[in-house]
């Protein structure tokens, strides 16, 4: 009997097996493309007069960093896990504040035509300011690099959240508003049963754009503010002339950015109501 369970005839096992096989099939083109890129990179860097290390050299030179991400040293001498964790922590704080404030302001601008006329032009101007242009002001105002970096994340992430939430509220179908009117729904019920569920897909579009921008901004901001964090790690490695470490850090930055995007998508899939 026990042998029966483990055979491929078990439908559960089969479907699981097919799933793994399917995801492998999907990954195959990516793997091939990556391999080709690595080969080109290696070939280019083997040319005489190449200034950057090839992939093999990068792995060789950064091997201690790769195998020991949880290394603990003094000051900014920390393993890559801790560097990334420090950056992620700043992003988490700045991004969460931006999400709360952004949704609130977006709802305000969405429900009130007056507020929209008053604030939208200001938002449109401010959102085009590059993240790093905010850094001197926030350093001057907050006197400390840690809150200044968090403020830069906040101010970078908030615009797409405000704008998308606002558009979402303005696009609540008139039918739903009519239903709310004829049922005389209270403000609270309208908010929780009509406005938020109807706007959630737009909010998540904003949140997804914002997480990408936050991660872009933190790396740049940390280069200027210093301390533990992947941005300063890159800058520090460059100043020490260790380009391999810069490249490794860039790869990690990219993977973490992808992961953040996937996390927001995953949450959106759970939260956004199906039709």
């Amino acid at each position: 009997m026990a042998t029966n369970i483990s055979t491929a005839r078990n439908p559960y096992a089969t479907s699981f097996g097919t799933k793994v096989l399917n995801s492998l099939k999907n990954l195959l083109p990516t793997a091939v493309a990556t391999l080709i890129l690595l080969t080109i990179w290696q070939l280019l860097c083997s040319l005489p007069g190449a200034t950057l290390p090839g992939p093999i050299q990068v792995v060789e030179e950064t091997w201690p960093l790769i195998i020991d991400p949880f290394y603990r040293g003094d000051g900014t001498d920390q393993g890559l896990f801790w560097q990334l964790a420090a950056s992620l922590q700043r992003v988490a704080v700045g991004y969460s504040l931006a999400a709360v404030a952004g949704v609130a302001l977006g709802v305000l601008v969405g429900v009130s035509t007056l507020m929209f006329r008053a604030l939208d032009p200001i938002f449109q101007v401010l959102r085009t300011v590059p993240p790093l242009a905010w850094l001197p002001i926030s350093l001057a105002a907050l006197k400390d690099s840690q809150p200044a970096a968090i403020f830069v994340i906040f101010i970078t992430a908030i615009w797409p959240i405000i704008i998308n939430t606002g558009v979402g509220v303005q696009n609540i179908p008139q039918d739903y508003n009519n239903v709310a009117k004829v049922l005389k729904l209270s403000k609270m019920k309208y908010f929780t049963k009509v406005l938020i569920p109807s706007t959630v897909p737009y909010i998540f579009t904003g949140l997804r754009i914002a997480i990408g921008l936050s991660w872009l901004a933190i790396v740049a901001a940390e280069m200027l503010t210093g301390g533990v964090g992947i941005g300063f790690f890159i800058w520090d490695a460059y100043n020490s002339g260790i380009v391999s470490e810069v490249i490794l850090a860039i790869i990690y930055v990219g993977l973490v950015g992808l992961l953040l995007d996937k996390i927001i998508c995953f949450i959106a899939d759970r939260v956004v109501p199906a039709d």
Binding site: N178, K181, V182, L183, K184
Partner: protein, 278 residues
């Protein structure tokens, strides 16, 4: 004074005790090129429990007329009174069944109905609100689908939920804006019969827009025929004398049926034919 001709709205004397009174109603929209009159001098008195159908070509202002009864729009002149109260805003005493269902897609059929009950009678005990919701789901034969979301329901089922949501609030007037227009013919007939039965059981006053003469002849006590816009008026009001309770086969076998049908067709396609061919 302009001379009243045959198509002018019948200026009946208004009974002060009438249930629903549409009194000299007009709607004018300002446009950059001058004012645009949609409806002009509409008078209609509806008895309690009466079933009224409104028919007319697209753009004749039928929906505007019903919007002023439901309170979504305000008349330019005149007023609508329900039991002597002037209507100024939408409210659950005049529930609307919209053409495109307008159920909240993130709530189940049960929750869509419950939301209204909870909003209108917040003080009722939960068990009672639950019972009203379940009774009305049962009334439209959707007890099994209580937990389904609108996206999982067919068009006919969605419209049933809408009717249940509306009637659960015990409205004084039920307003339906082409409720079955988007349904296939078989489902439409089923729902017409169901509405007929529900109306007989509930004795609710109904105002219903339709494009379908047969539907009106089956359901209505009176058929209000509108002239073409702009400045549409009530052209004619047809009494539909078939005895109640009605049955589709019985109604269609009656010789009066074809007289009435031809008279309505004559009104719509000869006397007030639409300019553009539909």
């Amino acid at each position: 004074m302009q001379i009243l001709n045959k198509v002018d709205s019948p200026t009946a004397e208004i009974d002060p005790n009438a249930f629903l009174v549409i009194d000299n109603l007009s709607k004018v929209y300002p446009t950059p090129t001058g004012s645009y009159t949609v409806l002009d001098g509409i008078n209609l008195t509806v008895r309690e429990g009466e079933f009224i159908c409104v028919i007319g070509h697209s753009g004749c202002g039928k929906s505007t007329l019903l919007d002023m009864v439901s309170g979504f729009r305000q008349p330019t002149t005149g007023e609508v009174r329900l039991q002597s109260q002037v209507i100024t805003e939408p409210g659950p005493d005049r529930m609307v069944v919209f053409q495109n269902y307008s159920l909240l897609p993130w709530l189940s059929a049960y929750e869509n109905i419950f939301l209204g009950i909870n909003s209108v009678w917040p003080e009722k005990p939960h068990a009672e609100k639950d019972q009203i919701t379940r009774d009305h789901l049962a009334m439209v034969g959707l007890s099994e689908a209580a937990d389904k979301r609108p996206g999982q329901l067919s068009g006919g089922m969605k419209q049933r939920v809408c009717i249940a949501r509306a009637l659960a609030l015990r409205p004084q007037v039920l307003i339906l804006d082409e409720p079955f227009g988007a349904l296939d013919p078989i489902t439409r007939e089923e729902l017409q019969e169901e509405l007929l039965k529900i109306w007989t059981d509930h004795q609710v006053t109904v105002l219903m827009i339709t494009h379908d003469i047969d539907e009106a002849l089956l359901l209505a006590d009176r058929l209000v025929m509108m002239t073409n816009g702009p400045a549409a008026k009530i052209g004619e009001i047809m009494d539909i004398p078939f005895p109640r309770p009605r049955d589709r086969a019985q109604v269609m076998e009656s010789p009066t049926y074809y007289e009435l049908r031809n008279s309505a067709l004559d009104f719509l396609y000869r006397r007030f034919a639409h300019d553009d061919v539909e």
